[in-house]
């Protein structure tokens, strides 16, 4: 063992020893970040409509002592906690958008041991953890050598295809030591790879001149059903691991009228970029063939397409994250990300995604986060940032 390795292990050991103190200390100031979670969470923030929430983020950054927080051209809110040297920077990112529309009643209920309401886990609590970071670090008496760049990135989910994070990273001109993406769900999550993904929306229309008397004539729902059956018959390889998930189907509004239009949304994820490419071609062919055979109009739109990217499992950032989780009593669950981490790694920065707490009913209106595990989840995040700052996470 070299002296350098020994020193690193001692430094990490000292950080790990401090975790129990951090957990208790964070518990004692929980109001700081829970209040931010509720105030931010009650502002509707659908993808492409995050302005009100990011304005509040800017206000809170300012109130929490950040100088000159900014909204960039993409709509991302960011601010800097200056480090003592500031030669390099650490990115801390949380997506500000939510799967819930503005019409959803964004009212959160705060119980003794939980908070319930739409979007609290994904990602109001993650965003609150980033927003409250200056106050929490101050309370814990922790100062960084690097600048911490805090980012509430917009346009992350669904059709947005990580537009906000990609825009921010493309235009940022700072040397970055590493980045951490913060998600509310779920504690134990350890993502160090961005999964290749293809998001597709298929729209099926029954044309005006459709021959309802022909053999097999049917409305949009029946046709979409047949189409889904065909899609499900596409053989997906076991290696590289691949998966198809149907995420949305809309058609019709009554009991007894065949709808003329329908829409299907699904995602294919794969560890092989070649699988993604070949699937995209197959889907196009299936849609074309289906359209010709049934006399319907079938339009396919590739909403998002991402290539695989990763840092190795043996990367010091991953290794250190696992040590921190272990010390904090968190069991790591390796979970490739389809979110902002993809943009971070593709921009050339080592990064991981962490989950803060345990969650129920994720992405339902009664989404619930548990408070007790949250303090450990927050300590995990802060300790990892400290480890990055003292250069324990570099190859």
């Amino acid at each position: 063992m070299t002296i350098e390795t020994q020193t690193k292990e001692t430094t990490l050991g000292n950080l790990l020893k401090d975790i129990p103190r951090q957990i208790e200390s964070l518990r004692s100031v929980r109001e700081t970040f829970l209040t931010d979670a509720v105030l931010l969470g009650e502002v509707p923030s659908p993808t492409f409509g995050e302005e009100k929430r990011t304005r509040l983020v800017i206000d809170r950054f300012r109130e929490n002592g950040l100088e000159d927080p900014t909204l960039d051209e993409f709509g991302n809110a960011s601010g800097i906690i200056p480090g003592t040297s500031g030669e390099s920077a650490i990115l801390v990112m949380a997506h500000a958008d939510s799967v819930f529309s503005s019409e959803t009643r964004h009212v959160l209920e705060v119980g003794s041991d939980h908070i319930t309401g739409p979007g609290i886990a994904d990602n109001a609590i993650g965003l609150a953890a980033v927003v409250a970071l200056p106050k929490l670090l101050n309370h814990l008496n922790i100062q960084f050598k690097d600048d911490l760049i805090l980012v509430a990135n917009v346009k992350s989910l669904g059709r947005a295809n990580l537009e906000g994070a990609r825009g921010f990273l493309d235009t940022m001109r700072r040397p970055v030591r590493a980045g951490v993406c913060v998600e509310g769900a779920t504690q134990g999550r350890l993502s160090y790879s961005g999964l290749g993904a293809l998001r597709v929306e298929i729209t099926l229309n029954i044309p005006k001149d459709y021959d309802w008397a022909s053999f097999g004539a049917a409305g949009a729902i029946s046709h979409l059903n047949r189409l889904i059956n065909q899609l499900m018959e596409i053989p997906l390889p076991k290696e590289p691991k691949s998966k198809m998930t149907f995420g949305g189907l809309t058609a019709g509004s009554s009991f007894n009228t065949s709808p003329k239009t329908g829409r299907l949304r699904f995602e294919i994820t794969s560890e092989g970029d070649e699988v993604i490419d070949s699937m995209e071609n197959q889907l196009k062919e299936i849609c074309e063939q289906f359209s010709l055979e049934t006399g319907t109009e079938v339009g396919m739109e590739t909403v998002a397409k991402r290539q695989n990217c990763e840092i190795p499992f043996t990367h010091p950032l991953v290794k250190t994250t696992r040590s921190i989780m272990h010390e904090a009593g968190i069991t790591p669950k390796v979970d490739p990300s389809t979110g902002d981490l993809n943009a971070l790694i593709r921009a050339g920065h080592p990064g991981v995604t962490l989950g803060l707490t345990t969650v129920e009913n994720l992405r339902e209106e009664n989404e619930t986060i548990h408070l007790e595990p949250l303090y450990t989840g927050m300590a995990q995040l802060i300790t990892l940032l400290q480890a990055i700052d003292v250069e324990l996470c570099e190859e």
Partner: protein
Amino acid sequence: MNEEEKNTWLKKNTFHHGEFWDILKLVEEKEKKGLTISLCIPTLNEEKTIGKEVLILRSELMERYPLVDEFAVIDSGSEDKTLEVAGNYGADTYLASDILPEVGDKRGKGANLWKAIHQLTGDIICYVDADITNIHPRFVYGLVAPLINREEIQYVKAFYDRPLNYSSGLRPSGGGRVTEILTRPLFSLFYPELTNVIQPLSGEYAARREVLEIIPFPIGYGVETSHLLDLYHKFGIEAFGQTDLDRRVHRNQTTNALGKMSFGILQTFINRLHAQGKIDQMPDMETFYRRFEVEDGAYRQIVQKVVEEERPPMIEIEGYRTHRASLSH
């Protein structure tokens, strides 16, 4: 007070919470004047909403900005976890029955507000209902700010925007159903000056201890009405302020519950009419009905003459009697 003076009061003593966004400045002013502020939430089975109210108000107005010096939840004997949740987030919790036990226990919101005067220490007491689902610090700083800034103001009431869509920029503004159907017509008849209070029944208000300790408190629905009538009787309209707190989202009441509420308010109202000699020596009835409109954010009182003329019983009309007599022949 003539119409012009009334509109002056409306302009001078009607505030918007946005005027007081600089909470740090309020804290400095409060400290300069040596004032202390207590916040009281009266509760009965409010476990669904109380956690958020205590979390946000305490965190923002005691920890982040030390505007509030004391934060208490006074409970009428909840059967759910109201007190546990409130205590968990740092409120001082009391059972109303434990405060001044020698005066006995009468269950009702008004009793909790009354006992708060004894239990809490602040020079200013701010009352906030427990069922606000969109709670925000403005619900407190918007009410205490006029009391901190203006010594002549004794009592500040909240009013809220009720977001209704109208095709023109003009829309009616005011309170809920009981306010518009019962209280405003009664005030228009007997206390026209008080019609300047846009939402007389709102459950959020702040007042100086000196005025709270000299007025009686109905324990039920009449407490807000009695405050207005009693303080108006003692100090006149100049003692009041009102603050626009934007939107308030709360539970919707059934028509039955509103009927019960109206019954309580009427009792309080008639008691005051008796006490102030307005029943025995009925003054000439006012014939102006007063309501509010808001245009481009400015509130304006609309006065309409409504005279309920009456016709005598038909039998007293000669033409009718003659007509009926002709039919019987």
